[in-house]
Each structure stands twice: as C-alpha cells, then as structure tokens.
Amino acid sequence: MELSAAKSALFTLPMLLVTAFMLSAGKLPSGFEHWLSFAAVLAFFNTCFFMILRSGKTDRWRAPVFIALSLSFVFTFIAHMLEVRGTMALKDSVMLEGGAPFCHVVIPQTLIPLLVSRTVIFPGTITGGYAAIGAMLFLWIGFSLALGRGWCGWGCFFGGLDDMFSRLRAAPVINRINPKWTDISVAVLIVTALASAASLSPEYCKWLCPYKAVTEFPAVQNLATLIQMLIFAALFIALVIALPLLTKKRTQCGLFCPFGAFQSLANRVNPFEMRVDTQNCAKCGACITACPVFAMTQESLAAGKTRLNCIKCGKCADVCPKQAVYHHVKMTENRPSLAQRLMFLFPAFMFLTTITGGMLLQAVRRIVHFAGTGSFC
C-alpha cells in the first residue's frame, strides 16, 4: 500500500510533532552535542516513518528503529552500570538494596506471587530509581491492551538483537523448522513461572536469560554463579546469534522466550491483527517463509489469519506479491485499507520511538562526545 510523497509527508507530520515533543521533553536542547543528537534521532525516526508510508513496507522501515532500540539499550545500559556500579556484575549488596533494574521478561515469573500475595519477587523498587517495577508493569499493561504481542515487534529492547542477526545473511542455511517448536517457549513459560512461584525468586532470570550476557549477570563467586554465566553466554551465542543467522528467524523470541509465549495471550485482548485476503492469496508461501516467529503456517493461511504468536511486525505483508496480507482492526471490514493500516502504525510507531528515543539520544550524545573528547562520559 504505497502512498504518494505528499500524502506520506502529511501523515508523517503528526509523528514528527509527537517525536519532537517526546525527544525534547518540551524543552529546546542546549549545546552542540544535544542539538546534534536531537536532530539526528528526530530525522532518523521520521525518515523511517515516512518510508513506511511511502514504500508500503512496514517491516523494512520498522527494523532499523527496532534494531537501534536494542543496540542503544545495550550500549546505554552497560554504560550506566559501569558508571553506577563500576561493573556489569550484579553484586549481592545491589540486590539487597533493591537496585536491580526490572525488565518485562520477568513479568510472567512474578505473576503468581503478585496475584496471591501482592508481592513482587524481584530485587528492585516499585517506584523511583532506574527501571522501577511499577513503571514497567504500567507500560506493559497499557501496551498489551493496545497492541498485544506487538510488544515483541515494536517495543522489546532485546528483540532487536536477534532481529538484527536474522537479517545478516541473504538466505537461510536451515530452511525447515516445524512451527511446533514454538511450544518450547510455552513449556519454558510454564516451568519457570511455577518454579519462580515455588522458590519466590525469578528462576528464568537466574538461569536461562540469554540477554544477561549483554546486560548484567551475577558476580562469579562460586560454582553455581560460574555455571549461570556459562549458560547465559551459551544461550546468547546459540539463540540470539547463531540460530538467527542460520535460519533467518528470531529464534530466541519465537522458540524460547517465556515472555513472548505469555504475551501471545494479549493478542486476544487488543484490536489489531494481521489478516490474509484468502481470495487474493496466491498461496506461494512467501509469508510463511518470511515470518520471523513462525506465526504463519499453511493452516493459518487457509484460515486467513496468523497464529496467536504474531508480533505484528508486518514482514508477511511486505513480502506478499499479491498484497493479500494486511493490518486489520478487529470487528471492522475484512479488506485492506489505509485507515486500518494507519490506525495500527501510529500507536505502534509512537511506542517504539518513545521507548527508543531517550536511549538512542543518550547513545548518540555519548558517541558525539567520544568523537570530540575521547571519553564516553
């Protein structure tokens, strides 16, 4: 669904205003570094949004921002940890003082104790501080109601890493992966949620999160913490780097992440979905091959829908030669329309840029500062 340059510019204007307000926090930047980073990030966001509209390719122009989100997150997170703690290792004292940053992947592990006794089993703080529990829960509830598992395609600050690696090769080395393997993530979800409720400690974070390798990890003090470190590194190399490179799929997100499996349920309670016009569909299977999280199968295609684990990235729509796959607002007419596409794109891209904005600004500012002074701080 390509638009003329004039129409694309017109629809980009509201996004330009929102992102300018969000990036500046209502105040004009001061100083060369701030101005440069502000202008660069603003131009980047709005060029991508303009191109989504102009080219009709959602995923192609979503991906640069989504990948920038993950890279700037990792960069700024590590910089923050090194400045505040002097190390990426999470010491016992930080945990006892409630200083561990909370992330959305912990949420399914905390839900049972939260519902039973209103306690959060995580060494963080409810409000205030860096990445507080309350703020993350609040954003997660709001986003889930608005975009469901779109979180994994438009808001997850880890997902851009395996998304990036899945795009590096022109063709996959491993072609066939049975979509039933996605059940592994459901099994990981059930096992870690129950184990966490039993131990009152977030077990997935303690033992299985690959992203610990690039964020924070327990200080190696004994054999158990050494094993934890080795598991994190092995899972990161296998699921975030190697398998995405070989399969061109987001294997961590599609096959292993318990949050992703849990978030699939949120696809039931939000108004957006991907639909397939079965009359127009050539049944070429391009969407099945392209889907990064195994959400398209022959069966779902025949039913005119995706599976429940769809992340709404729009890659299926991008590759469809007949333009038979489209963003759809539930309960409305079953045919592609610009209104439905815009209705989804505005909140999704707004969320993506709001989450990304602060981190990307900071990352660009630090790089500009480094170029001028030789120091990141």
């Binding site: 004292s93 209103r118 089993i121 529990i133 539930k330």
Partner: protein, 152 residues
C-alpha cells in the same frame, strides 16, 4: 448490528491511539498512585522485611529486620533474619552484636564482624539450635547487610 460492530472496532482502535501517549505522559503520576492503591510491594525475601529494632553504636547504627519465613501461601520451615550495619563514621576494626529475635529472648545469636584488612568477615555464634548460620554478607555503599539463616 454490523454497523455497531464496526463502530465499536474503530472506537477500540482509536482508544489505543490515545492510550499509548497517555501512558507515557501520565506515567510519573499514575504509577505511584496505582502502586499505593493496589498495595503491591517487593517480597521480604529481597528487602529483608520490616525493621523491628534499631540501635546506635559508635561509628554505626544497627537495624534488625523481622524474621522472614514468607512462602507463597504460608510460612516456610526455614528463613532468615537480616541485620544491617549502617556506617555513620568508620566501622571499628572489630565489633559484636547480639540479636534476640523473639519476645522472651530465648532465641538469639551473636554476630562478630571484622572489618580490618580487606573485605569484611562475619562469624555467627549461638547456643540456639534454630540458628543455622551465616547466609549472606553483602558490603554495600553505606552499609553492611548480613543474613542469618534460622529455623522456625
């Protein structure tokens, strides 16, 4: 009916368009209010539980937390007591603290801390069979936090 359904769909989608910016704008005010209203709090297994007594000593203050046996549905057979030693000046090279954690003083233990010569070290001594030993010693920016494992 079809028109009403379609109208509902569009309204639902429009609400999401408003929800996303509203979330970010209202986050700072709404999150503390929601946290208070729902009463969610961090588990005592991480915070150490409420402080039940405090004592001031030369160079530091001692805060003794309640015994934590919290389980998912009830109490566990084993738990811990957290004791914080907050620096007010420099810690003495060696000091002791006796902690009694029941009303009549039958269950107690003594913590001996040595801070001289590198990382702080702690020893727990007790005649009480319910005191299982040192669980954790963490040296924070402004305090030493220590957990002693106990049985109910």
């Amino acid at each position: 009916m079809e028109k009403l359904k379609r109208f509902t769909g569009w309204m639902w989608a429009s609400a999401c368009l408003v929800l996303i910016p509203a979330m970010f704008v209202g986050e700072n005010k709404l999150v503390p209010a929601l946290a208070r209203a729902t009463g969610i709090h961090v588990s005592a297994r991480f915070t150490g539980g409420e402080v039940i007594s405090a004592e001031e000593c030369p160079g530091y203050k001692v805060f003794i937390h309640r015994p934590v046996f919290d389980g998912l549905l009830g109490k566990r057979s084993t738990g811990f007591i957290q004791v914080d030693f907050v620096r007010t000046a420099a810690f003495p090279p060696e000091f002791e603290q006796t902690v009694s954690y029941d009303e009549n003083g039958t269950h107690s233990f003594t913590i001996k801390i040595k801070t001289a010569g590198g990382a702080p070290r702690a020893e727990i001594s007790s005649k009480d069979s319910k005191v299982l030993g040192l669980g954790m010693l963490a040296d924070g920016a402004s305090k030493l936090m220590l957990r002693v494992n106990i049985r109910r």
